[in-house]
Amino acid sequence: MSFWLTQIAAVMRLEIKKSFFARRGLWIYLLALAPVFIFALGAFMARNFHVFETTMPANSHLLTQEQLDSVHSGMTRDQVIAQLGEPASSRTKHVRIFDEDGNRIVIQAEDMRYYGEDRSLILDVRNGVVNATMSRGRSTFEQSGYLFATVFQFFFIRLAVFFGCLGIFMNLFRGEMLDKSLHYYLLSPIRREVLLVGKFLAGVVAATVIFTISAALQLAAVFSAFDTNTIARYFNQDHGVSQVIAYLGVTALACIGYGSVFLGAGLLFRNPIFPAAAVLIWEAANPLLPALLKKFSVIYYLKSLCPVPVTTDPGLPSLFKLLVSNGDPISPYLAVFGLLALALLVLWVSSIKIRKLEINYTTE
């Protein structure tokens, strides 16, 4: 057993280097970083350009939409306060304007902020009169968390991790056949099943490192839009730690599940397009499958493990509703066990295939 472990470590040393530093794997990094970039851009816009509000003073109270709509230009500051109460925040500023004679003068102005359920109202008050009103959408931490959960399920797991694993795991054997270098492994004193395990584990390490780091960076980008108090509250009171661990764990399990599938596909098929399309359709059609067949799908287990369920909003297109619906959820323990069992089953079938594998590069 220790001899096999030594051999597995030797295979992993070779393969991890190839998986991380292969030039043809550059697109996998881009795929993993794409959602990080999107979330980071959103946070940057929120913090620097106030495209939408992400913070709210702790002592502020939320106003109704009707209350916010009742304020208009021309009202005096006192009228506004009488109607809405003291602002949640207020900031005085100096504004340069032209007087009636065309001379530039500096006057004192004030920004008054009020917060509603899903938007905020900013009043530009000059000389005690509301000069302009500005309304902005407001993003709560919960909304951002929901947005992240949606992107995580729709894009990250179903597409980014899926195709990333396709690129990493299908190349473990098929790539070496195309490079005509697989025979060096097969001519070494190592059982082919041990080689399979070594390559699989190397792929899991590479995929897990790339995609869990991506998931962690995405979460960090989402958090960066909010103030430290909000983030601290999320981690201390709102199960933040368990949710973050769950997201990272689901990502790692997705790498194991899809990795085993594509490792097997790399041994069975020459062209990755056909198995990729077949698995993608199979995964998408999971909600439609009979109960028994559902269990042979990776997404079936992952959906049950995602910490924030993506509800089927009535406004969602039917296809999206179908993709996110989880009509038959299972317990997290069963989901983890089921996914690992599925991966082991695929690896066992792959080990039968690799025992009979023949090297005939000319037909590749």
Partner: protein, 313 residues
């Protein structure tokens, strides 16, 4: 432990295409050359031996082990295959040492063995460069280093002299001889027949997926009865000898050498001819030399495979 490489009624078909058919071989230690035209089954035979392909019928054992016992077999076997390729991104040294690690050896031992092998093929200076940038000859030598790094008892080499310059060729041949002298099997295929002739202890001639002949080249030649053996005699009085030879029924042809100091004889019975030569010598004829001229691989190849060969040099 069995010291033979044994093919027992081995056939290999690629769909409907014949690879090799009903091959029975028992190969002893020493240098054995596989000779035959393209598509004759030489590489198929080597790939079967190393388990890169599986026989459709029959069994192959190497020193008692089959390809289903890789942990034992590949400690004994090194194969320098025909594929001129390297794993991506590795230097020559990394290529040799990384695959050595698969045998379970520790890093220090692999390091030592790798450098030993690299030194044997004379590539120490280039070993830290990426293998992808090597010339054809360097790639060939580095692949050879990888095949010999674990000091195998069976060395299998598919066209090992391709791309090597004359100096490196002779060094490589010396390396093969060293392995053979150590009691190892060196099984190689080559199209360069005069080199095969020089280095081989035995040959296996293949054509169309069949083994046409096997064994010591002189023994193989003597088995080819339908082709009279050609012998050159250098002597003082070739005319007298020629008239003597015409009296023998096994002498098929006698031709005078252009310098009038020798004869080219063709005989259908070499044994009777050499007995006759003993009598001739005893009767006082002064013979400078008597030497067969068609008991080399080239001639045997010509007789057994002949015009079908397109690749013979």
């Amino acid at each position: 432990m069995n010291d033979q490489i044994v093919f027992d009624n081995v056939s290999k078909f690629y769909g409907d295409v014949l690879g090799i058919n009903r091959v029975n071989l028992s190969i002893p230690p020493g240098i054995t050359s596989l000779v035959g035209p393209n598509g004759s089954g030489k590489t198929t035979l080597m790939n079967l031996l190393t388990g890169l392909i599986r026989p459709s019928r029959g069994t192959v054992t190497t020193l008692g082990f089959t390809a289903d016992q890789p942990e034992q077999l590949f400690k004994l076997v090194g194969y320098c295959a025909q594929f001129d390729s390297f794993p991506r991104g590795l230097t020559g040294y990394e290529f040799v040492s990384s695959y050595l690690r698969l045998s379970g050896r520790d890093a220090a031992e692999c390091d030592e063995l790798a450098w030993q092998a690299i030194d044997r093929v004379g590539l120490r200076e280039a070993a830290t460069r990426k293998a992808a940038g090597y010339s054809k000859g360097m790639r060939q030598r580095m692949r050879l280093a990888q095949a010999i790094a674990h000091n195998p008892r069976v060395l299998i080499l598919d066209e090992p002299l391709n791309g090597l310059d004359p100096l490196v060729r002779s060094e490589t041949i010396a390396l093969f001889r060293y392995f053979a002298q150590e009691g190892c099997h060196v099984l190689l295929s080559s199209h360069v027949l005069h080199e095969v002739d020089i280095i081989s202890d035995q040959v296996i001639l293949m054509n169309g997926g069949y083994v046409v002949a096997e064994g010591n080249i002189k023994g193989v030649r003597s088995e080819i009865r339908e082709q009279p053996m050609q012998i050159v005699i250098r002597c003082d009085h070739p005319n007298t000898l020629a008239s003597r030879f015409f009296q023998e029924d096994h002498i098929v042809e006698v031709r005078m050498h252009h310098d009038k100091k020798g004869l080219l004889i063709k005989t259908s019975d070499p044994d009777r001819f050499f007995t006759l030569m003993n009598h001739v010598a005893l009767n006082g004829h002064k013979l400078e030399s008597v030497a067969p001229v068609d008991d080399d691989v080239n001639s045997v190849y010509e007789y057994l495979i002949g015009g079908e060969d397109e690749s013979k040099s």
